[in-house]
């Protein structure tokens, strides 16, 4: 059996109704992860359908402008469906299919994971239902229609704060209602074991590739890897193959919203505390009685009150460093990378770019940073315009 814990974090804190299904998922995953036929099929999909390997691009203009470390961008934004989410959903949907499931359900915040799941479900002929906070269906209306075009049914979730955490709640409720033919395709390295491990494994292709690429281009490992963190799947994928390489500093960038000294942020490591929620022990934003706190970020994808258990462990052991980035810093970085490199990245990814802007000038010119661009920013253009007070119609 796989280890259900990362230090004290992780575990399986879910209703009894789901336990046998989760145990079955773990068994099936253990079998298929080493199954040649499964891996061949998955790699074929990743390479021929999703567009892997993704580019590792030397951002020369940014490097010169910031005047410090050499900056490489890991371009997950160039994947099919426009983000790293496709890596995980192709893996999980293929696994679901092998397990004999005919239906997948998923939560989504910004809509990236929902669109990716709907895409994989369309390709693999599976029924697909997506749970999305009503607030987010309004913020990301285009993605709702995109999912519907792909044949998915989108359920706007009207409970609680009507955002990502409520979408996860509703998805778990639906899964307890129907497990026989359904797999919950979790979108991040969170939830009950074995999800944090499964999602990390499917996302670890990011650092597997970037390591090969940087060794090929530079002949050495990077000095730092930077990625944004909500639940933390692109960051976990970006970090994973460097964890053993102690010379590589790992930085996760959390959403500080309007600032960590306000009550409008989603900075779990900076401001959260140990808790047990959504099936896992980890860090969460919560009040003194353990009620989960409403969180805020301009980025719907980072607007989550928790963080995956393996990140919590990397934080505890000081292997990775987590830094808060405000809305304002992220929006500036969004605009900066557009003008400097001609890349409109996701507002989530712009949190990582914002930290690179701070970090690179403190490093020397012979040092190297790899920054993951987790997604593309088309979905955010209208929100950024609004943030800048520009009234445009999509």
């Amino acid at each position: 059996m796989l280890n259900p814990r990362f230090g004290i974090h992780g575990g399986q804190y879910i209703p009894e109704t789901l336990m046998n299904e989760i145990i079955n998922l773990e068994k099936q995953y253990e079998y298929y992860k080493n199954n040649k036929e499964f891996n061949d099929e998955l790699n074929k999909l990743l390479n021929e359908y999703a567009g892997r390997p993704s580019l590792l691009y030397y951002a020369e203009k940014m490097t010169k402008d910031l005047g410090g470390a050499k900056i490489y961008l890991k371009r997950e934004d160039l994947n099919h469906t426009g983000s790293h989410k496709i890596n995980n959903v192709l893996g999980q949907c293929l696994l679901a299919k092998k397990m004999g499931k005919t239906r997948v359900i998923a939560e989504t915040g910004a809509g990236q994971h929902g669109v990716a799941t709907a895409t994989a479900a369309a390709l693999l002929d599976m029924e697909c239902e997506i749970y999305m906070g009503k607030e987010d269906t309004i913020r990301q209306a285009l993605n709702v229609y995109r999912m519907e075009l792909l044949g998915a049914k989108v359920h706007p979730v009207e409970s609680g704060t009507m955002t990502l955490k409520d979408a996860v709640n509703e998805c778990m409720r639906e899964w307890t209602n129907r497990v026989d033919d359904t797999l919950y395709v979790l979108g991040s390295v969170m939830g009950p074991h074995p999800f944090p491990t499964i999602v990390r494994d499917f996302q670890s292709v990011i650092s597997k590739e970037s390591k090969e690429q940087i060794l090929e281009i530079e002949g050495r490992l990077p000095d730092a890897v930077v990625a944004c963190v909500g639940g933390g799947s692109n960051a976990m994928g970006s970090f994973y193959n460097y964890i053993e390489d102690k010379s590589v500093a790992l930085y996760g960038c959390e959403a500080a919203g309007k600032g960590i000294d306000t009550d409008k942020h989603a900075a779990t490591i900076a401001k959260g505390s140990l808790g047990i929620f959504h099936g896992m022990k980890s860090y969460f934003c919560q009040d003194e009685y353990g009620q989960i706190a409403p969180v805020y970020s301009i980025s719907a994808g980072l607007d989550y009150p928790g963080i995956g258990p393996e990140h919590a462990y990397l934080h505890d052991t000081k292997r990775a460093t987590y830094v808060p980035i405000t809305d304002e810093e992220a929006v500036e970085a969004f605009e900066y990378i557009a003008r400097t490199e001609g890349i409109i990245c996701a507002i989530e990814s712009a949190h990582a770019v914002a930290y690179v802007k701070k970090l690179a000038p403190t490093m020397s010119k012979d040092q190297i940073i790899i920054c993951t661009l987790s997604g593309r920013g088309d979905k955010d253009v209208a929100a950024i315009a609004r943030y800048r007070g520009v009234d445009i119609h999509e």
Partner: protein, 259 residues
């Protein structure tokens, strides 16, 4: 010493659920005493949680109503302490693990013991994670109720063998809420339970009519009703007391008539 055991001693048990602090703490106290008067054998008090993933819409909304009134775990401890001055009915808390964990397991279970709580039901604490609270619960004499679901199959016996207080048999897939039909093969689940333990097994999720309650009491040690009562509170608010009495009376009579 166990008040929970008393609930199942003389007859089949009718177990009623209310969300603590819905619509106010004072009203919850009044409702609980009325529920006792109407014949219930045990009362579950929900400590509201912001994200109750095992609840359907009715109890979700009750959680929101209660939290928005400023209900806290400490206020509910105080409420139970006051109730214990006037009643000896078995009382168990129903809540999620995070409010308990964040409060501090030792402090939480000690307070339960001090104020007169007999047991606790935590739907997101499956058998594998029981060690979280097992020792401290024993230390303070609080019985942690185990849940068994329609999907438990090969897990039923292990869970039942290690149960205390009573066993909560979840009648249906999905979340709490009233259902017109219960299709799970409860007979075989209860037979498995009975083959390994004498701990009483009560059935909950979806039960709302006296006819359903009677039918299920025939094959189990009792029934648990939550959403149907919470619905009455949602409808009548502070004026719910007589309506709760009438409903609980009809349900507990149906259960107690089964020998």
């Amino acid at each position: 010493m166990s008040r929970i055991k008393d609930a199942f001693n003389s007859n089949k048990a009718f177990i009623a659920f209310v969300t603590g602090g819905d619509p106010t703490i004072e009203k919850t106290k009044e409702f609980i005493l009325e529920i006792e008067k109407a014949g219930a054998d045990l009362v579950e008090i929900g400590i509201p949680f912001s994200d109750p993933i095992a609840e359907g819409p009715v109890i979700q909304e009750a959680n929101i109503r209660s939290l928005s009134q400023g209900t806290t775990t400490d206020k509910l401890f105080d409420m139970v302490k006051e109730l214990r001055q006037v009643t000896n009915i078995p009382l168990v808390f129903m809540t999620y693990l995070n409010p308990v964990f964040h409060y501090g397991y030792d402090k939480f279970f000690k307070n339960c013991s001090d104020c007169g709580i007999d047991g606790i039901i935590i739907p997101d604490l499956p058998f594998e994670e029981k060690p979280e609270v097992a020792d401290v619960a024993v230390k303070y004499g609080i019985e942690v109720v185990s849940l068994i679901a329609p999907t438990s199959e090969d897990r039923i016996k292990t869970i039942a063998e290690n149960s205390t207080g009573f066993i909560y048999v979840v009648s249906s897939m999905g979340v709490t809420g009233t259902r017109s039909q219960i299709t799970t093969d409860l007979n075989s689940i209860l037979a498995s339970v009975k083959s390994v333990t004498d701990v009483p097994a009560a059935v909950g999720f979806g039960i709302n009519t006296p006819a359903q309650a009677e039918k299920i009491s025939k094959i189990s040690d009792g029934v648990i009703v939550g959403s149907a009562i919470v619905k009455i509170i949602a409808q009548y608010g502070a004026d719910a007391t007589p309506h709760i009495y009438e409903y609980v009376k009809s349900m507990s009579d149906a259960v107690h008539n089964v020998k």
